[in-house]
């Protein structure tokens, strides 16, 4: 497996511009001869499809929802970072780059992160030009707030609906291209496999989720922007449809999967309430700008709260432990996500958790309301407070919110080089589906930034470079008549037939729930060698059971959510094992990956740069074979490797 990252030579600040200059261009008249397939219509996919079409390429874009506007990017609440330094508080491209590398626990690729920081300022300009109604000051200038892991205010936001507004901006540009006929949009279509011709990605096989028809689509290259795999945990903050299928199918066809064990656990979710729950809901991190996180000082007090004998508001000041402010005084409640999550877990492990399950801590706005008045808090977070009340039935203006960490974002993904090309030539991967920019932990408000950076500013160049390298004579040369398409299509159909024919006793959802339970318990917020080995064995057994006992009702030739689920759960089963293997291999604690064997005396994560400053990339070798590990060493030339301290 060739892991040449193709990082351009030269000083970090000049890499992207010199690379852009050296890239091959396709002359505008020739662009219409090429056809690009984009899978996914979120920030990365939608923006890439719109930008490529605008440049003149013909684009086919696929999404499983009923409209590209519903991609899960829409659910991001808090904001998007950009090194604009509008606040004059010392921000710069270099500082955003530095914060991102440090926040990612030194497991991201420097050159990619620098480019991300560099284009971040252009993203804001682009979004404003397309009509995104970011929050403004009275003078008409853009407003900013700060987010976890940063000491400057660089986060741009549109109320608590930033992701929605950014996505609608990209969707509007995409819609324009659909209207012009440059993008052919396939709603309610699910990609089930990728087709390679002479080693290059030249097409995909998709299922029309309305008619059940399996069809072939050929192109000159394929862009995957299919989001993250957090739903492998069953309960997560992801949308119900989020899945790993496209990425995992690509992996099985030769794309290396990098760092799957890097899962971000977000500290501020509404706690789990019972076993009927289907998903977890995030409360925006921006709440931590004003909310103070605490747990009772003693397990006895916590016990009384859990039993309903004591109300949170009646806990006296000296019985409250504002543990983030205590342990991480310089960042306080805005400590990064991995650190805040682990601190909450620690408090609950000590028996100081609240909520009926004991798995919760408080996020208290009492002091902020006293200081700024309820109206100010309402203006800042009104919709989030309403959402909380809607879900829990409690009024957070009167009683503190209850929060607990939950699976939120995945930093691992398909391995890509600097051009965002995977180990399959001609297959590009953008947004959460790739691995490159966030390292082992993602700082708040950087996901939206990365999705749009990839979609608007990176892929439109690098895809063009690839097509230019192939030469115009190659444009449109591969058609769906090629035998490779028939072969892959037959595989896809056989798999569906197999799922439909098992006719067992257990629903796909039930299997998914069992899988999620194993992974959360053994590869969740804390991981151990023993637990991971157990998990791998249990997942293998579960996978076997799945293929013998899953029950998919309904028909394959129409709308069938059970069949869709079954296919995705089958992939999650295999992928879950890979995730645990990666976690087992990584004998260190870092970012979202905490190995109990590797911690300092005071319980902080202990990284091992000597042995693990690399990207772990897995090669698929066969269904019954262990995958092979490859390493891309991470070389830090600009940011000195140092222990992350937020104290």
């Amino acid at each position: 497996m060739n892991l040449d990252a193709k990082i351009p030579e030269g000083p970090i600040a000049e890499k992207w511009s010199s690379h852009k200059f050296k890239m091959k261009l396709v002359n505008p008249a020739n662009r219409r001869k090429y056809h690009v397939i984009v899978v996914g219509s979120g920030l990365a996919g939608g923006a890439a499809a719109a930008s490529l079409a605008e440049q003149g390429y013909n684009v086919s874009c696929f999404c499983y929802q009923d409209s590209p506007r519903r991609a899960h990017s829409i659910a991001a609440q808090g904001g998007i970072n950009a090194a604009k330094n509008y606040q004059n508080d010392g921000d710069s491209v270099y500082r955003l780059f530095y914060d991102t590398v440090k926040g990612g626990d030194y497991r991201a690729r420097e050159a990619n992160v620098y480019r991300l920081a560099e284009v971040s300022a252009d993203i804001i300009d682009q979004c404003v030009a397309s009509g995104v109604p970011f929050a403004r000051e009275y003078g008409g200038q853009l407003a900013n707030r700060s987010f976890g892991g940063a000491q400057v205010s660089r986060t741009f936001y549109a109320r608590g609906q930033t992701g929605q507004q950014l996505l609608l901006g990209a969707y509007a540009s995409l819609s324009r291209q659909i209207g012009l006929g440059k993008v052919k949009m396939y709603n309610r279509h699910e990609m089930l496999d990728v087709v390679k011709v002479d080693g290059h990605a030249k097409g995909i096989i998709v299922r029309n989720m309305v008619t059940g028809e399996i069809s072939r689509h050929a192109g000159d290259c394929v862009v995957l922007a299919t989001g993250g795999y957090g739903n492998v945990f069953f309960l997560s903050t992801n949308a119900q449809g989020c899945n790993v299928t496209a990425a995992y199918r690509a992996h099985k066809r030769g794309a290396g999967f990098a760092n799957p064990c890097y899962t971000q656990i977000h500290p501020t979710c509404i706690p789990v309430h019972g076993d009927q729950q289907s998903k977890l809901t995030l409360m925006s991190e921006s709440l931590r700008n004003d909310g103070r996180v605490w747990a009772p000082k003693s397990p006895e007090t916590a016990k009384k709260i859990r039993a309903g004998e004591l109300a949170a508001n009646d806990v006296p000041e000296d019985e409250r432990d504002y543990y983030l402010e205590r342990k991480y005084p310089s960042f306080g409640n805005l400590a990064p996500r991995d650190i805040s999550s682990r601190a909450a877990k620690e408090a609950c492990d000590e028996g100081r958790g609240i909520a009926s399950t004991g798995l919760g801590v408080y996020l208290d706005f009492r002091d902020a309301i006293k200081r700024d008045g309820q109206k100010a808090i309402e203006e800042r977070y009104g919709n989030l407070f309403e959402m909380y009340q809607c879900i829990t039935g409690d009024n957070p203006y009167e009683v503190p919110m209850m929060i607990f960490p939950a699976v939120h974002y995945t930093m691992g993904g398909l391995w890509v080089d600097y051009n965002l090309q995977s180990t399959i030539p001609g297959m590009f991967v953008g947004g959460e589906a790739n691995f490159s920019d966030h390292g082992a932990n993602r700082l708040g408000a950087s996901a939206l930034m990365q999705g749009l950076a990839d979609g608007y500013f990176v892929l439109p160049y690098t895809v063009g470079n690839y097509l230019g390298e192939q030469g115009v004579a190659a444009a449109g040369q591969v058609s769906t008549d090629h035998p490779a398409f028939a072969e892959v299509e037959a595989d896809v159909k056989a798999r569906i037939d197999k799922l439909m024919s098992i006719n067992g006793n257990e629903s796909p959802r039930s299997f998914h729930k069992r899988l999620g339970h194993i992974i959360w318990e053994k590869c969740g917020m804390a991981r151990s060698k023993e637990g991971l080995e157990e998990a791998i064995r249990e997942i293998q057994a579960l996978r076997k059971e799945f293929w013998e006992n899953v029950r998919v009702v309904g028909d394959a030739d129409g709308i069938n959510p059970e069949l869709e689920k079954a296919g995705r759960v089958a992939d999650f089963m295999e992928f879950g094992e890979l995730l645990c293997r990666d976690a087992l291999m990584r004998e260190e604690s870092c970012g979202g990956h905490f190995r109990v064997e590797h911690q300092t005396d005071d319980g902080e994560a202990m990284r091992n740069d000597e042995d693990f400053a690399f990207v772990g990339v897995w090669e698929y070798l066969g269904d019954d074979q262990e995958p092979k590990l490859h390493r891309e060493p991470l070389i830090y030339e600009n940011v000195k490797l140092a222990t992350r301290s937020y104290k």
């Binding site: 605008e54 970011f134 200038q141 509007a172 439109p460 129409g558």
Partner: protein, 253 residues
């Protein structure tokens, strides 16, 4: 809680549908409405029956995918709440709940509670955007936008495109949706250049898709989970009148 569900079952667009009745027990009042349907579906799968197909995705009230009429009201009885954010504590033990798809001619039923809302996409594709090249915008602060304008644009832009407005309207009018989208773009300085063109294109597409006219009944506003206000419709009517007058004297293109 124990409930009786009367659910619309329809195999596909070609076949006729009908209500089926299902008893359901042990529903937690902390569950959301869709989680309650998950339980029903697990029960149906167990009995070897096809589960109820319904559209849903983020379950956080923002993607706009969930769409169902609950006891006669799109998204159910709770104001400003999507079906996925509606919790069972708002229902009574022993209650009978009727669940059916959006009813509107431009939104044909595809299966059970799933309808085709692609006409909304086509309204946007006809002009609901700002024409601009990606990657070459001026600095965002070069164009100050008064806070009140940005806030107003955000009020309009909050629309999630769920289609409840159409389902609630006796005329199946898409005015609230179209108005929200047009008002968002038309109110911002960036969107002014093609305001007339946009307005005419979106309204004419809306009519061509078969949505009915707006007669100011206000059901749309009442059911809108994002509380998009009727003011947006007034805004669109004003922009439309202006554009038509201009178009009368010189074709807007």
């Amino acid at each position: 809680m124990n409930l009786t569900l009367k659910v619309w079952r329809q195999k596909n667009g070609e076949t006729k549908g009908k209500f089926e009745e299902y008893p359901l027990s042990d529903v937690s009042e902390d569950s959301s409405f869709l989680e309650m349907l998950d339980i029903l579906n697990e029960q149906l799968v167990e009995q070897g029956q096809e589960p109820v197909a319904f559209d849903h995705d983020c379950r956080e009230g923002i993607c706009g995918m969930c769409s169902m009429t609950i006891n006669g009201i799109p998204h159910g009885p709770q104001r400003a709440t999507t079906a996925c954010q509606l919790h069972m504590r708002h229902f009574r033990d022993g209650q009978t709940i009727t669940i059916e798809p959006w009813r509107a001619k431009p939104f044909p039923v595809m299966k059970d509670l799933v309808v085709d809302r692609s006409p909304f996409d086509r309204i946007i594709q006809s002009g609901g955007f700002i024409t601009g090249r990606t990657g070459s915008a001026v600095d965002a602060n070069d164009m100050p936008i008064p806070k009140s304008t940005a806030d107003y644009a955000m009020d309009a832009a909050a629309c999630i495109g769920c289609g409840a407005c159409v389902a609630a309207c006796p005329n199946a009018s898409a005015m609230l949706f179209t108005a929200a989208k047009a008002s968002h773009m038309n109110s911002l300085p960036q969107g002014k250049a093609e305001k007339d063109r946009r307005t005419l294109a979106m309204v004419s597409t809306m009519d061509d898709e078969g949505f009915g006219g707006c007669t100011n009944i206000g059901e749309c506003e009442a059911v809108c989970p994002k509380q998009i206000s009727l003011d947006m419709i007034a805004h669109l009517n004003r922009d439309y009148a202006q554009a038509q007058v201009k178009n009368f004297f010189q074709t807007v293109s």
